[in-house]
């Protein structure tokens, strides 16, 4: 009972055979070997599997692969342009927005969605809109700062002083 689906993933036309019950995340990971998209829960809470589906950030564990037939999907592997990281990737690196890295691809893709909806969000808006993405390592502080810095960078403005850095961290960072 396998079905054939065709979709554009990271700009490339792809085709695959899936069971009707196969989730998009499993098709991406197992069918296309795009293992940057992670599975952290099975109830749609953690957001580690967030990808862009037709430009919108969605949890790919909540979408059947067959539902993505004909769609355009972007995963974290398709975010950088050549050697240049997307400003959100760069900001996560610059401001230590990740530790174990497992939630990071989902966080980054969710942040793409946030900044698409609102190019200049406040910290509070960022926190509110990241509610669907859980991180157990960072306490979110540097993630929020990274999204804010990316927003600023994407508008071509100088980045605001990162709120996440501590007085001590800033002072001793020689």
């Amino acid at each position: 009972m396998r079905q054939t689906i065709r979709l554009k993933v990271n700009g490339v036309e792809r085709q695959g055979e899936v069971e009707p019950r196969t989730l998009l995340v499993h098709f991406l990971r197992d069918g296309l070997n795009l293992t940057g998209t992670h599975v952290g829960c099975d109830t749609g809470q953690c957001g580690a599997c967030t990808v862009l589906l037709n430009g919108d950030a969605v949890k790919s564990c909540m979408v059947l692969a067959v539902q993505a037939d004909g769609a355009e999907v972007r995963t974290v592997e398709g975010l950088a342009v050549g050697d240049a990281y997307h400003p959100i990737q760069q900001a996560f690196w610059d401001l230590h927005g990740l530790q174990c890295g497992f939630c990071t691809p989902g966080m980054i893709m969710a942040a793409v969605g946030i900044l698409k909806r609102n190019p200049n969000p406040s910290d509070e808006e960022i926190r509110e809109q990241l509610e669907g993405n859980l991180c157990r390592c960072t306490g979110y502080q540097n993630i929020v700062a990274a999204v804010r810095k990316a927003a600023s960078d994407m508008q071509g403005q100088p980045a605001a002083q990162p709120v996440g850095a501590s007085a001590a961290g800033g002072a001793s960072g020689e």
């Binding site: 293992t35 690196w93 230590h96 530790q99 993405n133 540097n142 996440g164 800033g170």
Partner: protein, 789 residues
């Protein structure tokens, strides 16, 4: 020594590029040709006899390769062994089979295992296994479990008492007899679920040609699991390779060796095919260890003017249904006992812990393990005492904090605190929060009907697990030293090997900083390799805030040896005496003559070519250093929380969170801050949100992320950090540990703030988590209403 110090530099993490681009390699990302998939049937009952298991339908399914029950594995793999056996505690060692044989003892206990061609077929086949259970009586609470007549879990553990130990220092009985004031309180350290974002998983591959087993798995300590697999699966230790390069968080839950991994190894040998097992989140909730779960009776003795003279604690620790193959009884209860006196000069202490077996998931080390439970207890008690005496909690703390000139300080429980300046951290935090004006503002807010409070935590902790000798004293069945290897290749690039196994802590960066700083090598030229027993001789892993304190120290000492040899070789090439050689910014030259020099890269090349070495010098430039410190390290600091409670809804809002931490010398301030952020978030999680709840039948009713609150970005406040630096005297670089401090410090700061906010209502204590419902009920009760109207 390089002139430009890398120690203290906010270097961006070297591990990040692979993570931000989706190119990390976690265990679930591993795919091998011919790989088959394993799924585990877990018990729906908390306690039941297995009358029969019928696997015939599952075995007959297309695509199913094998189905194993406990009986199939009996005699072929060993039982899960305890790793900590606390001495003088009448410690019991009940059998813990990798798959239950005739009895299941908690919801989630392994009953059968299917291996199939796809994960979906394996899951489908689980539904085709018929198990006939005969339910048995259940006990889930630690105090109930040890009462006469409680349901018994193991025939060789009478009264479900796994262990019972007591330690005392000074004369606690006399202290309480002579006390002017005695405070008593009961604390419930609710059960928590670690919830690392990456579920556990394993890919096991048996090579029948060489007789070698390779297993990629989610562990914090690959060498320890290699040892356990060797023991249980009967494969020589030198024929096992454990790989755990990228691990998506652990927080203690990936220290343990689990039955699932042992079965995957059995299956790959049995089938001759690579076997993958990936836990789903609901399985993680029941099948991976839990933490905390203690009920404590605490007493504090003091004089009327606020000098604490004694502390007495009796705690019931819920160990779950089996002794997990990890810290289990060890760190979570024993370190708990040792640090109960906290940062205070309390001369008399007695701590007693009873380990209770219950029909619940086994407990083990969750971030902080034992120290959050102790720190919460003492910091809450100090606040309770302040309330009783009508003293300001800061004044009471000042009166009892160990003075800076008293270090090294021997506590009533026999720990020797290495170094500290507790008042300096407190002063800094008080200045940050503006405490001078806080109480006046609080009075005004109270007049306006607002419930705003401030909570303090002048914590200390004990970590950097090692020393091996002390760990042996407390019943750890292994060593706790580390080895670091620094190898310079002919091209001037370096490989650093560490037996610690970071999974988010950033040691690929900090250890490279240590080496770069000493040798003057560009940090880009240094690769830190971890998480591979095939490459690294030995190590005991990353937990207990030991990565840098123990592993980093070993790397530091190995680098010093490389430097010494480099100087000798430079001296030979420069025709000078080694003692006249200066090493600076990666250049070696004769003192006073920097014009003629050899670079560290030149030295590496010459050492590897070995064309022109001094007589007696061996070729190569590679050094090992083993490090086993003489003592733990003792980070400390002050955390302050300012919180407001909405009396109408019971909701707590954290208005400010201030943390001043001292972890000795800081290698990378950005990484240290990140560790503190994450630690605080988990501590706040315990204070306000997280609670693993079992019903009376042993069902975990908070069994998914829909029911158990892993805090989200809106639930964690902005944190204001600063630090003091008091070097560790017993690590070569002066660093202590910082992985757990945030968690150890923060929970009580939040609860103290909420209790302070509600003090006008006469509320003295609240059980965690401080959910709006609980707080609202407490407010209603305090106001004398029974239903809130």
């Amino acid at each position: 020594m390089a002139a430009t110090s890398m120690i203290g530099a906010a270097v961006k993490r070297r591990e990040d590029p692979r993570f931000i681009t989706g190119h990390g390699q976690y265990t679930d990302d591993i795919k091998l040709p011919g790989m088959v998939h394993m799924a585990i049937l877990r018990s729906p009952y908390a306690h039941a006899r297995i009358k029969s298991i019928d696997t015939s339908k599952a075995k007959a399914m297309a695509g199913v390769r094998a189905v194993y029950t406990g009986k199939d594995l009996e005699g072929k793999v060993g039982n899960m062994p305890p790793v900590f056996i606390i001495p003088d505690a009448n410690f019991k060692t009940p059998a813990y089979p990798v798959i239950a044989i005739d009895t299941v003892r908690y919801t989630g206990d392994q009953v059968a295992v299917v291996v199939a061609d796809s994960p979906a077929i394996a899951r489908d086949a689980l539904d085709q296994i018929d198990v006939d259970y005969e339910p048995l009586p259940v006990v889930v609470n630690e105090e109930e479990a040890v009462k006469p007549g409680a349901p018994q879990l193991h025939s060789d553990v009478p009264d479900n008492v796994l262990f019972h130990w007591k330690i005392a220092g000074g004369d606690p009985d006399a202290a309480f007899q002579n006390a002017e004031v005695v405070i008593k309180e009961r604390f419930i350290q609710q059960r928590l679920i670690p919830n690392a974002m990456e579920p556990r998983s394993a890919v096991a591959r048996w090579d029948p040609g060489t007789g070698e087993l390779t297993i990629w798995h989610t562990t914090q300590n690959p060498h320890i699991t290699r040892f356990v697999f060797s023991l249980l699966n009967g494969i020589p230790e030198n024929k096992i390779r454990v790989i755990s390069r990228d691990v998506g968080g652990g927080f203690g839950s990936k220290i343990d060796t689990y039955p699932s991994d042992v079965v995957a190894i059995f299956a790959t040998r049995d089938l001759g095919l690579p076997v993958k097992w990936v836990e789903d989140r609901r399985e993680n909730f029941v099948g991976t260890i839990h933490g905390r779960a203690q009920t404590q009776e605490a007493e504090l003795a003091a004089t009327r003017d606020g000098k604490i003279t004694g502390v007495r604690v009796k705690s019931y620790a819920n160990m779950g249904a089996y002794t997990s193959t990890g810290p289990a009884a060890g760190v979570p209860t024993w370190l708990f006992g040792l640090v109960v006196p906290g940062a205070y000069t309390i001369p008399n202490a007695q701590i007693e812990v009873i380990g209770a077996m219950t029909n619940t998931t086994p407990t083990s080390a969750y971030r902080g393990a034992g120290r959050p439970e102790a720190s919460y207890l003492i910091e809450r008690m100090v606040d309770r005492l302040a309330g009783e005496l009508g003293m300001d909690p800061v004044e009471l703390r000042r009166k009892n904090l160990i003075p800076a000139d008293a270090f090294p300080y021997t506590s009533a429980t026999g720990l020797v605190y290495d170094s500290g300046n507790y008042q300096a951290a407190l002063d800094k935090a008080l200045a940050m929060v503006g405490y001078d004006s806080f109480r006046q503002e609080q009075r005004q807010q109270r007049q306006q009907g607002k419930y705003v409070g401030i909570g303090f935590s002048t914590y200390m902790e004990c970590c950097g697990l090692a020393p091996s000798r002390l760990m042996d004293d407390i019943g750890f069945q292994a060593g706790q030293w580390e080895v670091g290897t620094v190898r310079l290749l002919a091209t001037g690039k370096a490989i650093v090997l560490t037996g610690t196994s970071p999974h988010g802590q950033g040691e690929e960066t900090t250890f490279a900083q240590i080496v770069s700083d000493k040798l003057g090598l560009p940090i880009e030229d240094i690769e830190v390799v971890h998480g591979d027993t095939g490459a690294i001789s030995m190590g005991w892993g990353t937990y207990g805030s030991r990565g840098n304190a123990v592993g980093g120290s070993a790397v530091y000492l190995a680098t010093e040896k490389v430097l010494e040899k480099s100087k000798k070789l430079a001296a030979h090439l420069l025709e000078a005496a080694p003692e006249d050689i200066v090493a600076e910014n990666g250049k070696f030259f004769v003192a006073g003559s920097p014009g003629k020099s050899f670079s560290i890269q030149d030295i590496a090349l010459q050492a590897n070519l070995a064309w022109n070495l001094p007589d007696g010098m061996a070729p190569g430039l590679e050094e090992n250093s083993f490090f086993d410190p003489l003592n733990f390290v003792f980070p400390f600091g002050t955390h302050i929380c300012v919180a407001e409670v909405d009396a109408e809804t019971g909701e707590t809002k954290i208005l400010r969170y201030i943390a001043v931490d001292d972890c000795g010398v800081v290698i990378n301030p950005t990484i240290v801050d990140g560790q503190i952020h994450g630690g605080i978030a988990q501590g706040i999680g315990q204070a306000l949100y997280e609670h693993a709840i079992y019903d009376e039948n042993g069902n975990l009713i908070t069994g998914s992320m829909m029911d158990y609150v892993v805090p989200n970005a809106r639930q964690i406040p902005f944190m204001e950090l600063d630090r003091t630096v008091t070097p560790a005297p017993q690590t070569p670089h002066g660093a202590k540990g910082i992985g757990e401090a945030g968690t150890i410090a923060s929970t009580q700061a939040v609860v103290n703030a909420v209790v302070d906010a509600l003090a006008p209502l006469g509320i003295k204590n609240l059980d965690m988590p401080l959910t709006p419902e609980r707080v609202w009920h407490a407010i209603q009760q305090a106001r004398g209403g029974s239903n809130g109207h």
